[in-house]
């Protein structure tokens, strides 16, 4: 009996690596600490009532952001482990299996569990406030989306210590990801972790499209929407076309692995190429999905901090929409070297290059928004300024990669690695950081310390160039991606060393941001105005942090940059338009179902991973029961009485 338990445990838990034992201890200690703190301060009820069951878009947004920053930490540690291995290629700091697991999880985590949720966090916090709405269109669905993401991400992450991580690369090409080459459970964790959170992403896409189209404040025309709202709309449209492809692709891969189907195996009439086409039909639009909102963020910030109206609004909208359209015609550039023939390659080369045009136009429009403005370099603007050169260079190397015959030399090399990190860090990470600094006061009611923020900014930026510029040269010198070892005689050692130093500089930059947040919580500068940056859009017209109902009375919109115009009118001595009398506010009720249902999905997913039907079936039954219970729940909303609105407003405005 004892023997069989021991044998089971050694298969169930990942063993044999000191790094993983360290992680085991770390995870156990953190869990104990969390349980202790919650119990000691009697916070369990508070956690459940105020957060886990909340359908308030602002709280969901904050939870998204916390989770994604934790994932940024984990993905970052993965990156530094890889870079450490590459400075000492002769030493097995990480053995090849472990290295493969780490780059696989690094990719998946950074794109799907860091960039996506950070983006969703910003959508959640900003969009309803920016369009003058009281919530998103489907608050319950919104909470469900978050918890599906969260439990999907957890399922993916436990593979690190239980069962073993996937190691077939972040897009899991067959046959490497098939049972024949990945017999362990790692690949099943990959499928179920992404599948569960992917459903959440798709629902968020639908939710925000409806929110933006149907919930705008009275008077706000489409062409008066703030640019971040536009970018969210274009990103969500791309999501609803791209994510179903991912869902189906992973479902087919699951059928291959679980039921012995042959969709992607050569024997039995399948074809791995089918997978590669499908995964990139999702995968390439995906990078535009994450970068489009960053464009919106920059547009908001550039206008605000240059104290000038955004230049070329219509161009910007057109550019956003054409990028999301063309993003679906570029997928084959990921396999130019597959011998599809000159005409096919030329077609996809040109459709890829075309995207550079609207993207370039956006950069010019930002520059001309700054032109003849008055630019103040607060944190959000600083990150925007860091973004422009970084993204322009990254975009240019992207154009180089799109030149099909030249791509035969760049493909799969470090040149490619350098390029996509440049657009994803320079574009997406810097963009979302800018957004976080910009809307932080709106979320929490205090600003972040500027001095520590500047340190973080410069460490990240300098670290970025030190890390990734050498990789372009490594690529041109024949170094391929995903190698864990190379001979010293290749002469790649020095550049790899420089690159690793840059990676660690970015890591220190991240620590400065953690310090900055901790420091600012302790010595916070309270923002009592609700409008600390002299903003232009509606979210700055309400107190910070926003009350649960956002707007006591829904604003009447007459122009683009409504809040800015309003401030101008007030300055000129116009009286604010008379407010209609307060009315009770209709709000959605909190619900524990999204959390429980997603947890059931986690249990079902875990069961499928280990092929334990005794666990998967009750998990799925739990999901079904949750749906049933919800469909018979009639008490889903309530009204905030006028008195309470008055009291809240007085308390919030009283401190102005």
């Amino acid at each position: 009996m004892f023997e069989s338990i021991k044998e089971f445990a050694s298969e169930f838990f990942v063993t044999g690596d000191p790094l993983i034992y360290g992680a085991d201890v770390g995870i156990a200690l953190t869990m104990i600490a969390i349980v202790f703190v919650l119990t000691y301060f009697k916070r369990w009820g508070w956690l459940w009532r105020e957060w886990l069951t909340s359908v308030d878009h602002k709280k969901i947004g904050i939870m998204y952001i916390i989770a994604s920053l934790l994932m940024l930490f984990r993905g970052g540690v993965d990156a530094l482990l890889m870079r450490t291995q590459l400075v000492m290629p002769d030493v097995e700091f990480l053995n090849p299996e472990h290295y493969n697991q780490i780059f696989t999880t690094h990719g998946v985590i950074m794109i799907l569990f860091m960039a996506m949720p950070l983006m969703f966090g910003l959508f959640n916090i900003v969009i309803p406030l920016q369009i003058g709405a009281r919530d998103v269109a489907y608050p319950f669905l919104n909470s469900l989306s978050f918890w599906l993401f969260f439990w999907g991400a957890m399922l993916f992450n436990v593979s690190f210590v239980i069962g073993g991580s996937p190691d077939a690369g972040w897009l899991a090409y067959p046959p490497l990801s098939e049972l024949s080459h990945s017999p362990g459970v790692g690949q099943d964790f990959y499928i179920w972790g992404i599948q569960i959170s992917g459903i959440g992403s798709l629902m968020t896409g639908i939710n925000f499209i409806v929110t933006i189209l149907k919930m705008r404040a009275p008077g706000m025309k489409l062409m008066q929407m703030p640019m971040f709202t536009w970018s969210t709309l274009s990103s969500c449209i791309t999501i609803i076309f791209a994510f179903p492809i991912l869902t189906v692709t992973l479902a087919l891969l699951f059928l291959d692995r679980y039921l012995g189907a042959h969709f992607f195996t050569l024997d039995g009439g399948g074809n791995p190429m089918m997978y590669i086409n499908l995964i990139w039909m999702w995968g390439h639009p995906e990078v535009y999905i994450v970068v489009l909102p960053a464009f919106g963020i920059f547009s908001e910030i550039v206008a605000t901090f240059s104290r000038k109206k955004l230049f070329g609004y219509k161009s910007m909208v057109f550019a956003l929409m054409s990028i999301s359209f063309f993003s679906f015609f570029t997928w084959a550039h990921h396999f130019f070297t597959m011998g599809s023939g000159a005409n096919v390659n030329a077609f996809f080369a040109i459709t890829t290059m075309i995207i550079a045009i609207p993207t370039g136009v956006k950069v010019f429009n930002w520059l001309f928004t700054m032109f003849r403005g008055r630019i103040s370099f607060k944190s959000p603007m600083l990150w925007t300024m860091g973004f422009i050169p970084c993204f322009v260079i990254g975009g240019m190397t992207g154009v180089l990669l799109s030149v099909a015959p030249a791509d035969f030399q760049f493909h799969n090399s470090y040149f490619l690695i350098a390029h996509f990190h440049q657009v994803l860090i320079g574009g997406v990470a810097f963009g979302y950081f800018a957004g976080l600094y910009y809307w932080w006061p709106k979320m929490f009611g205090f600003k972040l310390n500027e001095k520590l923020g500047k340190w973080a900014f410069w460490l990240w930026n300098i670290g970025f160039y030190v890390c990734f510029m050498p990789q372009y040269f490594l690529g041109l010198d024949g170094m391929t991606r995903r190698v864990s070892t190379y001979g010293w005689d290749m002469g790649w050692g020095p550049l790899n060393m420089v690159s690793t130093i840059g990676g660690f500089l970015m890591g220190i930059g991240f620590l400065f941001q953690v310090w900055q947040i901790a420091h600012s919580i302790k010595f916070m500068e309270r923002d009592t105005t609700g409008d600390p940056w002299n903003g232009r859009t509606l979210e700055w017209s309400i107190p910070s942090p926003a009350p649960v109902y956002n707007f006591a009375t829904l604003p009447q919109v007459t122009a683009q940059d409504e809040w800015w115009e309003e401030k101008q009118r007030r300055e000129q001595g116009h009286k604010p338009a008379p407010q209609p009398p307060l009315e009770p506010i209709h709000m959605p009720r909190n619900s524990g179902i999204p959390f429980i249902k997603s947890l059931c999905w986690f249990i079902a997913g875990f069961g499928f991973v280990f092929d334990w039907l005794w666990m998967a079936i009750p998990g799925l039954a739990g999901v079904a029961i949750c749906m049933l219970v919800r469909s018979f729940t009639y008490n889903t909303d309530y009204y905030i009485p006028v008195d309470e609105v008055k009291r809240t407003e007085a308390a919030l405005r009283g401190s102005v």
């Binding site: 070297t337 003849r372 240019m396 030399q409 190698v483």
Partner: protein, 323 residues
Amino acid sequence: MPTAWKRLSALLTLVLTMVLLSGCSDPLMVLDPKGPIAAQQRDLILISSLLCAVILVPVLIMTFVIAWRYRDKPGNKSKYTPKWEHSTKLEAIWWGIPIVIIGILAVITVQYTHATEPSKPLESEKETMVIQVTSLDWKWLFQYPEQDIATVNYLQFPADVPIRFELTSDAPMNSFWIPQLGGQMYTMSGMAMKLHLLADEPGSFFGSGANFTGRDFGKMNFEAKATTQEEFDAWVKQIKSDSPPLTLDGYEKLAEPGVTQEQSFSSFPEGLFNKTVNKYASSHHHGEKESSAQEPEGADKKAEETDSGAGGHDSHDENHAGH
């Protein structure tokens, strides 16, 4: 766009290239081509970099100038026009210039795409030589059908002779890449891809598998050595005399996952490459029609007929003779 910008960007690119070529002790492989395909790709890389620089350099300069000139400091006398938000002329310029540049780049790309299409035979007075490449876990098997020898993780061929590499895989998809001779090409099971390369001069070049295939994929490097015809013939002769033959059993053992040293074989089972390509063909329900054996010459004609890379499917049918 003023010519000054162009001159500046040309100069910058030139300086950058010089730094790249001289700064390191060895020049970067891709920028140091030893064959016509790689040379065209290098040229294309430089031309497209230059075209991109036409936009990149002014944008970088503008960014710094604008940020400096219009910064918010007391007494900044530069113009401030908070409501200026549109200028058709300006927007036409920056929609126009990228469109023109991408247009030029597109034309160049289409030309080069056809010129360097890997399945297209290279023009040369000498006859094309065939080398069949199979990627295995985690090693490369090279078969020389005309010489009837085979090697593992080592490649030798005469300089100045056009080579047609026929590529397949008996393991997960890999990518065959000798940067100094030309760009890479995927090796895929069930297909035979073609990649035409040529070395201008004798020399030893670095080759590797570029696409991730699992545990020891990082060790799938090989030396590609171009020699004179005489040296090549001598080398073949030597292998013929002192290496063991590769048997079917031997191949099965070789194909098992694992790393190995360089090896050579004085012969290999007939039709081994085609057999590898057609390993899964029995489970395909298309392309089952039988055709006569078309070894190098026949396949070559086929490749000339279609300049598309559908070579995979063509040889799919041709190679049925291997059964």
